[in-house]
């Protein structure tokens, strides 16, 4: 029995999923996430090409490569964390969208005003 006080919670579940999907489907959200991930690989490839060119011309030696790698590790940390922030923000948006649908339904079903 999924109906409480006239509120059909199966339908509420379906509405919540639709709300979550709307957040996930939002092209801007996925755009920013995809961009960061794509950027990680593209940027590194560009750098390696730059280094190969400069090594050939004698502008770049082993010590230069060492500090380059050190810098890239720090950049990778920032980029991966940024992906996580976007991911968490997305998860947060999904969660809040779902919660909002249920909050309205519960208010109606139980006559409680939930915090």
């Amino acid at each position: 029995m999924t109906t409480i006080n006239g509120v059909d919670f199966r339908q509420v579940g379906r509405d919540a999923l639709a709300a979550a999907r709307a957040v996930v489907d939002d092209p801007d959200t996925w755009g920013s996430l995809k961009d960061i991930v794509a950027n990680v690989t593209e940027g590194l490839t560009r750098d390696v090409k730059l280094i190969a060119r400069r090594k050939d011309s004698g502008e770049f030696n082993e010590d230069d490569a060492r500090v380059f790698i050190e810098d890239q590790k720090m950049i990778a940390r920032i980029r991966i964390r940024s992906v996580a922030i976007v991911g968490l923000q997305l998860a947060e948006d999904i969660w809040n969208a779902v919660a909002e649908v249920f909050r309205a339904a519960i208010r109606k079903a139980l006559d409680w005003s939930v915090l």
Partner: protein, 200 residues
């Protein structure tokens, strides 16, 4: 009968859990962080451009410099620039720390986990700085990013003043500077993209 009741209680418990306060998994959007990031980019890019302009192209050209201490590419010529850039990041850190709003316990746990995974796979080049900041900021990803940005700038100054890397001249080469430009762009872009995602 009992099973149905238990099921209903379980469902209600789940629903009530879901309908608690809105879950905050990350530190909320701060548009000033974007403004500061752009200021930092501009001033650091200007320093890098100057570095490219005045620095030798290769090891041979650098070795041929008669008086490195007075050369325009010498580390001493860039000390005010590094200090200014680090200062700008400190301002960003201060703002982010001061405006820390509460994140849900779930958010704190997730962020702690992400930071631990990162530290295992890619340890920071500035362990001491990271330890100091962790005491102030906890696991906040946004702040951890700013700490890493500060670390990058500190490391850049240390590299510039490294006799081994600079072959005793304390002068970098154009290629060192060019790669820094690329690194700076990526770092600031990541930070800005993450911040903007929060506003949408």
């Amino acid at each position: 009968m009992r099973t149905r009741l238990l099921l209903r209680i379980a469902m209600l418990a789940l629903l009530l859990n879901l309908t608690g306060c809105p879950r905050q998994l990350v530190q909320p959007y701060d548009n000033r962080l974007l403004d500061d990031a752009e200021t930092l980019y501009r001033e650091t890019a200007a320093m890098i451009d100057r570095g490219i302009r005045v620095s030798p192209a290769n090891d041979a050209a650098r070795a041929a410099i008669a008086a490195p201490e007075t050369h325009a590419g010498h580390a001493s010529q860039f000390r005010p620039d590094y200090a200014s850039a680090i200062s700008t990041v400190d301002v960003m850190l201060l703002r982010a720390l001061a405006s820390q709003q509460s994140v849900s316990p779930v958010g704190e746990r997730l962020q702690t986990r992400i930071n631990s995974l990162l530290d295992e796979a890619l340890p920071s080049a500035c362990a001491e700085l990271q330890a100091d900041m962790a005491a102030l900021a906890g696991p906040r990803l946004t702040i951890a990013n700013l700490v890493d940005l500060k670390c990058l700038l500190i490391r850049w100054q240390a590299q510039h003043e490294d006799p081994t890397l600079t072959r005793q001249t304390l002068i970098l080469k154009q290629s060192n500077w060019a790669l820094r430009k690329s690194a700076l762009f990526k770092a600031v872009l990541s930070i800005e993209t993450a911040e903007r995602a929060k506003s949408e």
